[in-house]
Symmetry: C2
Subunit: 390 residues, 2 copies
């Protein structure tokens, strides 16, 4: 009567190393230490008040039954309209699937499109859950190592170089987690064309697309109406705990996504969907744009300060709230280095290990989801540890 074994996939699905750092940070905080959190991948801002108010109004009205699996019609319409007003791209509301977070959208897209014999091409470093979603459904992944010379992104040349006939989907993220870099429009258009020519699906994670601090960048939908575009109310709209995202898909995929969403989720959260109806209102967008300006100021400060401390930052990220900094001049093991910095300075940072196997030991991901004064304090502490003679 021994315990029956767990699934083989569990050996390949890693926990977030950031969580180990966070757990130790919380422990130190419980012991009275002051900790500055630069490891957490969610905005420190509260959900904007107009969204909260819409949520409270929905709770007061009290119709909190299941919505259709594809989402509230009114919300799908608002999301479609956002592509028109924000990008000038026409998206039919029928192509919008409202999901339980971007996680739900990624699971739906990968599950509806790929078989166990198929391969999903993605960048390494990248969002760790992507390879785990694939592993969960027994699909293969091809993690293409990317470096500063391609801004840590796939390029058309890299796609061609690493292409195999087993590739059935290419998963891009723009801006990327952990690097914050954006894929240039020309590259996105060329990769979309490659996918079309070679019979692969293009899936683009745009959950940080609302947080691009300079330049104008098109949604992948501007380049291809066959792209599967994932977005979220978590990051730009700052509704993390509400768990709401969306997927824009080609017409022909909607029936499959609908039945898969019915079976996997039934539907996304009803209170969250009603609250999100307020997210696109001008008053809410004004709040979000002010916060975005604050995030840009933080990025500018932190990037400059890390470079002055001696970290490598060969590419200035245009978006998200991450800096993927090279710490190889301080340590040849970023995980141990992150642990040491936490213990000695009380600054919590995520090691590269969370994001893949391409030189993770060289990198740390700093998030700027804490206030500018906190960031400055973190830099003072790091400076005392790393350059005590200054």
């Amino acid at each position: 009567m021994s315990t029956p074994p767990i699934a083989a996939r569990m050996a390949d699905i890693a926990p977030f190393h950031a969580m180990a750092i966070l757990a130790r940070a919380r422990q130190l905080e419980a012991e009275g230490r002051s900790i500055i959190h630069l490891e957490i991948g969610e905005p420190d801002f509260p959900t904007p008040q107009p969204i909260i108010d819409a949520g409270i109004a929905a709770l007061r009205r009290g119709n909190l039954h299941y919505t259709p699996a594809l989402g509230l019609a009114a919300l799908r319409t608002r999301i479609a309209a956002y592509y028109s007003t924000h990008y000038g791209v026409t998206v039919d509301a029928d192509r919008v699937v409202v999901t339980p977070g971007a996680s739900g959208a990624l699971l739906l897209a990968l599950g509806a499109l790929t078989n166990p014999a198929d391969t999903i091409m993605m960048a390494d470093p990248g969002y760790p859950c992507n390879r785990h979603f694939a592993r969960f459904i027994e699909t293969q992944t091809l993690a293409v190592p990317v470096d500063a010379d391609s801004a840590f992104q796939l390029t058309p040349a890299l796609v061609e170089r690493y292409w195999t006939p087993a590739v059935k989907a290419i998963l891009l993220a723009s801006p990327s987690n952990p690097t914050g870099t954006v894929i240039p429009d020309d590259d996105m258009r060329a990769i979309a064309a490659l996918c079309a020519a070679r019979g692969a699906h293009l899936i683009v994670d745009e959950i940080y697309h609302g947080l691009i601090y300079e330049g104008t960048h098109q949604t992948a939908l501007a380049h291809s109406d066959q792209a599967f575009v994932v977005n979220s109310f978590s990051k730009y709209f700052q509704m993390t705990g509400w768990r709401l995202g969306w997927l824009v898909a080609p017409d022909w995929a909607i029936p499959a996504l609908d039945k898969l969403a019915q079976n996997l989720f039934l539907a996304a959260s009803t209170p969250a969907q009603y609250a999100a109806l307020a997210a696109f209102e001008p008053g809410c967008i004004a709040i979000l744009e002010a916060r975005k300006a604050e995030l840009k100021a933080r990025r500018d400060y932190l990037a400059d300060a890390l470079i002055k401390l001696g970290f490598g930052l060969p590419v200035m990220p245009q978006g998200a709230f991450y800096l993927y900094a090279d710490c190889s001049c301080f340590s040849d093991d970023s995980f141990e280095f992150a642990r040491t910095l936490l213990e000695k300075t009380g600054v919590a940072i995520t090691p590269g290990l969370d994001f893949g196997s391409h030189q993770p030991e060289r990198f740390l991901r700093f998030t700027y989801t804490t206030s500018l004064p906190n960031l400055k304090l973190a830099i003072v502490r790091l400076q005392q540890q790393l350059k005590p003679t200054l």
Copy 2:
């Protein structure tokens, strides 16, 4: 440049036929027809006011960031305490995983425990998503046909008869959807022992366990601390649209479930978790118990009325809000029969086809999630259609 193909699994994952009935029913309503909905698998009651109030308070406080992947500590403690007060069974809060609905709990449990070469044994008829969860992660299913003589449930004898060495998990539901029948404690204990002896995991869906109208029935956790028990805030607690459930698992499985939950969901909805803290308060339980009494009265009425109309109901279901009625004396195709009844009488009912391949054409699932006056009106309409000479 043809469209690349979708995943093979999508051919095996069916949409809910109830949705086709519901869509037609909505269309008829839009045309002015009066429709009585006996096809919808969610309580008609609103979320109890104490839960709504707790949700509003959480939104006002405004800390709506991600919770830990396993859930709010306070909620895990309340859920654990529920097993003590309600069943007299001690469950450590560390064994409770809060999930995005019972759907999330089932996906976690099946994903953490089974490989593609493994088989999950389950009853046919049963909740359709179960076989689709398995198909999603490429695991095999063994659907055991069950009939009225075992109250449409697996028994120890059936488990032994259909056992194969590939069986790595047995998935039971008590009460069952679509049949509302409960597994006797002795059978549950014996099946738990069989699982232990043969090295299989036992997963028990108890999402309707709060809605058992007579007798006392133990949770499967009373029989085995190795059982994986799925429950939900949707049905008894009437929080359907909030998307919140839970899984109680053996100690040793928690780290695997934690990392899988991190990767698949990040966490369950934060507003829903804070709201659910109020669900176990005596004032809320009093509301729920009154509603349960109302559901029992509806069951008693509808079961009796359907039998008088000529439907077969060989087993009186003890729980949930479903009656799985044999309509073979009226039709040899329950799907067409359901469509005809909808068109002719405006009564919407789910055909057996949603629940498996064992004689679905003989059965209709009636839900009693509408008021007693509505149920009576439905019976009058059915009577006029089926027994016009009475």
